[in-house]
Amino acid sequence: MTQGDTKKVSFFFQSVKDVFAFFFSLVKKVRKTKIFFFISFLPVFMAFIVKFSQIFSLARNIEGIYIFNNMIMTFYMQFLILILALFYGTSVSSEELEGKTLTYLTTRPVSKSAIIIGKYVAYTGLVVIMTILGVVFSFLVLNLNELYELSLYQILFRDVAVLGLGLMCYTAFFTFVGTILKRSIMFGLIFSFGWENVIQYFPGSTQKFTIVHYLKSLLPSPSTGRFSFLLFRLEPSSTGNSVFMLFLITGVFLVLACVLFTFKEYIMED
């Protein structure tokens, strides 16, 4: 690498850092963030309700960690991280067009790729924080009586890591979708609750065309029990393969988003 190249790379990372600082401070102030922060805390409210029920012996025999695992698999994995990634990922470029603020960024000495990466990192960072806070609080409330059990924290750590990887991957995918499509939310909803929810249960390698397949592969497989005869079930990939695929998908979609954003002409309607 020549000295010029090193300078270019360091300038790029400086630009990403500056864009990140700008948008991380901005995104915390927007109304959308307040709404999603509330939604991401819904499991904590639920956890409190469950805990109160347990205290008043309505469901004392159900373990906190069992409820927590179900919460992760249903609310977080199938709903929250998809919604957060969809609304923040697509907005990386679309909010600049809709708000007609793109001009302020593209008339600065920062590359368009640095704008995409800087905003992506800022938004992913925010949604990861939002999600982790909800997960940790839910975990603490649900396992209030077993907090001395160190093995439970392994589960918490694993779940947080998987959700973090999920947010990283989905946000990258939706960042790309936002740069290419005008009505990216509609497409994103169809992808999230159609494609991802259905294809993941297809037999053979078809389910590997979903992101959720690799996320679920990182979690312990739920026992199929009396439904083991069903054709539609998760056939997990190995841990190493799943992590590699999640990083690969993230990288590919971020690069595509940067290339598209750099060369596509965005015309803001007057």
């Binding site: 300038f11 400086q14 630009s15 500056d18 864009v19 600082a21 700008f22 401070s25 901005l26 102030k29 927007v30 708000g99 007609k100 603020t101 001009t103 302020y104 960024l105 593209t106 008339t107 600065r108 000495p109 920062v110 590359s111 368009k112 750099t262 060369f263 002409e265 015309i267 803001m268 007057d270």
Partner: protein
């Protein structure tokens, strides 16, 4: 003088709609006014020279370098867009300092430059208010502030006086002239001739996506002087007034607007016509409600010049 901005056969279409057609220009240092009615192609031209959009045909060069995706060039360029859009949740100060961060200045320099720009546009007192609460004029001044804060050599302003009160307009005009004195280059667009006239005598007339004329402002002024003007007078006795007007050879046509109860007079000598009015009103005891000049705008001038 060497041209800073050069365009060659620059053309832009939005689908089937022509934005700009075959524009070849050389813009030299100093103040250049881009003048044209709404929808003429001024904003398209400015978006093309600031690399916001890509030309379909032709090319744009600044200091001999291409503009599209040449982000390094923007360290020297300040652009004030026409659209009234902001990151509404930020304060004026946060907006400005965050944009200055993108120029990679040190935190001290950012504060220094932001303070200076806020002071120039007289927003220092309101810098900690959220942009959402700013008045139209304050928003316009903030847009100008972000274009000048990083001390660019080339300043491109798209309708910078829109929404400003007369005092605000005068201040921005004075600022633009000061920048010219400092050796910077300013390109400013407007659809109001007197605004451009107050800033520069070097103008580019743009109409229907084409460069209609360019050069000294006196040229266009001379053209306008020979342009017949229509003056509307709302008064107590329009028919009596019409009878008096037709005696003068510089009054070309007189007709009535029955709906507005006014008299429309066409003259080829506006100055003589206006000096005649007071005596006519006085001698004939006519009380006047309103005198307006419905075609005293750039569109009318352009229509006349292109022979519509």
């Amino acid at each position: 003088m060497t041209a800073v901005i050069q365009t060659q056969n620059l053309s832009k279409w939005y689908g089937n709609v022509l934005g700009l057609s075959d524009v070849t220009l050389q813009i030299e240092p100093g103040i250049t006014g881009i003048l044209g009615p709404n929808g003429a192609g001024k904003s398209t031209f400015l978006k093309l020279i600031t690399g916001q959009i890509k030309p379909n045909i032709g090319r744009v060069m600044i200091h001999g370098q291409k503009v599209w995706n040449n982000y390094a060039l923007f360290a020297q360029i300040g652009f004030c867009p026409e659209q009234d859009s902001f990151y509404e949740e930020l304060t004026g100060w946060q907006f400005l300092t965050n944009l200055l961060k993108l120029h990679h200045f040190s935190p001290e320099k950012i504060n220094e430059k932001a303070e200076k720009a806020m002071d120039i546009v007289e927003l220092t007192k309101d810098k900690d208010r959220v942009i959402r609460s700013y008045s139209r004029g304050m928003r316009q001044r903030l847009k100008v502030a972000q274009a000048i804060a990083h001390d660019p050599n080339i300043i491109i302003l798209d309708e910078p006086l829109n929404g400003l009160d007369p005092l605000g307009r005068r201040k921005i005009i004075r600022l633009i002239k000061e920048y010219k004195g400092e050796g910077r280059m300013i390109v400013v667009s407007s659809h109001v001739l007197p605004e451009i006239e107050a800033m520069t005598n070097r103008i580019i007339l743009i109409h229907q996506g084409k460069i209609f004329a360019q050069g000294d402002i006196h040229y266009i002024r001379d053209l306008i002087e020979t342009h017949p003007h229509i003056i509307s007078i709302k008064c107590s006795h329009p028919r009596l007034l019409a009878e008096k007007f037709i005696r003068y050879d510089y009054v070309l046509k007189v007709h009535f607007d029955l709906q507005k109860k006014s008299l429309l007079v066409e003259t080829n000598n506006r100055d003589k016509f206006f000096s005649l009015l007071p005596s006519l009103f006085r001698e004939n005891h006519i009380s006047v409600e309103e005198i307006t000049s419905p075609d005293d705008n750039l569109q009318a001038v352009f229509d006349y010049l292109i022979g519509k």
